[in-house]
Symmetry: C2
Subunit: 161 residues, 2 copies
């Protein structure tokens, strides 16, 4: 299997969005994807570059991607967050995910960050196995908490009463 | 209890670091704090402003803080992450944590982000209760995964063989 890993450009964002949707379906949250190709282009390649993205290509077709950005740890300082690592189903098991992950880790190493991190679903046994094999440590006692736009609005409204 | 919430400045970073250390001790990870006051000043108030910080003051003394920064969601776009929300033990239960949280949510609302998020320890029942009461949703099936500097180095070295 011949593939190349390269930096994404804005013309890739349509394919990247399809990969995002494929992963959201696998994660049983297909309706959660509200983003558009245009937003990805604006947010990643506009005035503010809010993320970096690598793509994997087979015969000029995008089959995988890794998307990441800086975060700040009050324990470590500057760290990197891997938001998504996706290989389309047909091309899994060929080392493409590993190659994307490896390129991300090299980037982190060059940036001299003290930590990289990401989240994984607790039932995604293949991903957990992959991450552990490559040096990832699963922190079982932390829970992700979110407040969506409606809850933010509700909070503000309740406060205004 | 009279207190004020205000934007932190660099002179607060010494007190902020003490709060970070107090929280890390509570979270049973006191040795994980590697950051210095100087780094907090450089990273938060230097050329790159990698985080925003609010402090709570009682009689001109910093007794609490909230620290947050932008993140990028491939489902929602620009979101905000609340890295730390801390009130020193002696001043808990007086509404200071709520006031810091509220100011953060107002900031998020003004920025029109589609989501705010943070992490919480699964045994921190008081924090979970507080977050749920205010509209936070705990995602029980996601696991935080980290790779520290040593694991990054090891990964790169293994690849070079």
């Amino acid at each position: 299997m011949n593939f190349i890993i390269r930096k994404a450009n804005q013309d890739d964002m349509h394919d990247v969005l399809n990969l995002i949707k494929e992963l959201a379906l696998f994660e049983k949250e297909p309706d959660e994807v509200e983003i558009s190709t245009e937003e990805l282009v604006k947010d990643g390649f506009g005035k503010e570059k809010n993320f970096r993205c690598l793509v994997a290509e087979v015969e000029s077709k995008v089959v995988g991607m890794a998307l990441f950005y800086p975060r700040y740890s009050t324990w470590k300082g500057n760290v990197l967050h891997l938001e998504d690592l996706i290989v389309t189903e047909k091309f899994r098991g060929k080392g493409i995910g590993y190659a994307l992950f490896s390129e991300f880790i090299r980037y982190a190493h060059n940036k001299k960050v003290k930590r990289v991190q990401w989240v994984v679903l607790d039932w995604n046994a293949n991903a957990i196995k992959f991450y552990k094999r490559n040096g990832g440590e699963i922190l079982n006692d932390w829970r992700v908490t979110v407040m969506n736009k409606n809850s933010i609005k509700k909070f503000i409204e309740n406060e205004s009463i």
